[in-house]
Symmetry: C2
Subunit: 129 residues, 2 copies
DNA sequence: CTCAATAATAGGAATTGTTCTTATTATAAA
DNA sequence: TTTATAATAAGAACAATTCCTATTATTGAG
């Protein structure tokens, strides 16, 4: 049931996401993938982003500014959301000791993962102009 | 400039947020505050939620399901987002040592704060029915 | 190879969450 | 009081996302 069939559009989306560390929005993905697949529609981008996320192939980053960002890297790492320019950048910091396990001691629910986002100014915005 | 004037509507919104640990959405806030202010409009709820957030009186929680949740508690603490029922609950776990400071060693940007959300099943959804 | 089943698409309509606009009302300070 | 202006209700406008439908592409079987 529901076998996944190949599509050039999905491959382009994934390939673009894996080629950048900019954590683009759906709109940005659309604009880039358009250059390879000129006839792609925005609906196709949204559908595939959702599917790839569900399959665990990409990650969604919600930073509270009303824009969803996407990440082609699924291994856990940290992000910095810049309150000035709205960018999302990686922070290459070692992962903390198992937060999930620690948290599980403090709830009767089940912990399956977590996400940490830092807020502040990115390297570009913090520099004097 | 821009002095803040009292309004019964804002007070009701804040009072409701502080009375619950359910981390309601704007829509839910609207439905509850309606019982005290029957003529309140959804726009007023959104405007005040945004203002209270800007003033640092409440917090916004973005968990990636397309629904913004609000928290009348502003002191740092952890949340669990339930993938089954979509609820946001508190996890009363001691705060980790200063993550902000640690992260600042790994970026040229400025860290002002962070947010950690756990994902999994809440206590209610994990129990056998 | 050819064909049948069906997943995926493009394009646009529809939906949803949120913000904006405007005339009116409430607050607060002189 | 009076006056300046912040806040409101109501609904229009907007933007991000999902849904709909007829068509196209992929894939596995024969």
């Amino acid at each position: 049931m529901a076998t996944v069939k190949y599509s050039r559009q999905r491959e382009s989306i994934l390939s673009y996401l894996r080629s950048t560390t900019a954590h683009p929005t759906a709109e940005t993905v659309f604009n880039h993938v358009r250059e390879i697949c000129p006839s792609i529609s925005l609906g196709t981008v949204y559908r595939n982003l959702k599917q790839l996320e569900t399959l665990g192939i990409i990650r969604r980053i919600s930073c509270g500014d009303g824009n969803e960002h996407f990440d082609g890297t699924v291994s856990p790492h940290y992000h910095l959301f810049c309150r000035s320019c709205g960018s999302v950048s990686d922070i290459n910091m070692p992962l903390l000791a198992d937060l999930n396990q620690l948290a599980s001691h403090y709830t009767e629910g089940t912990i399956e993962g977590h996400s940490t986002i830092f807020y502040g100014l990115c390297a570009t915005c913090v520099k004097p102009r």
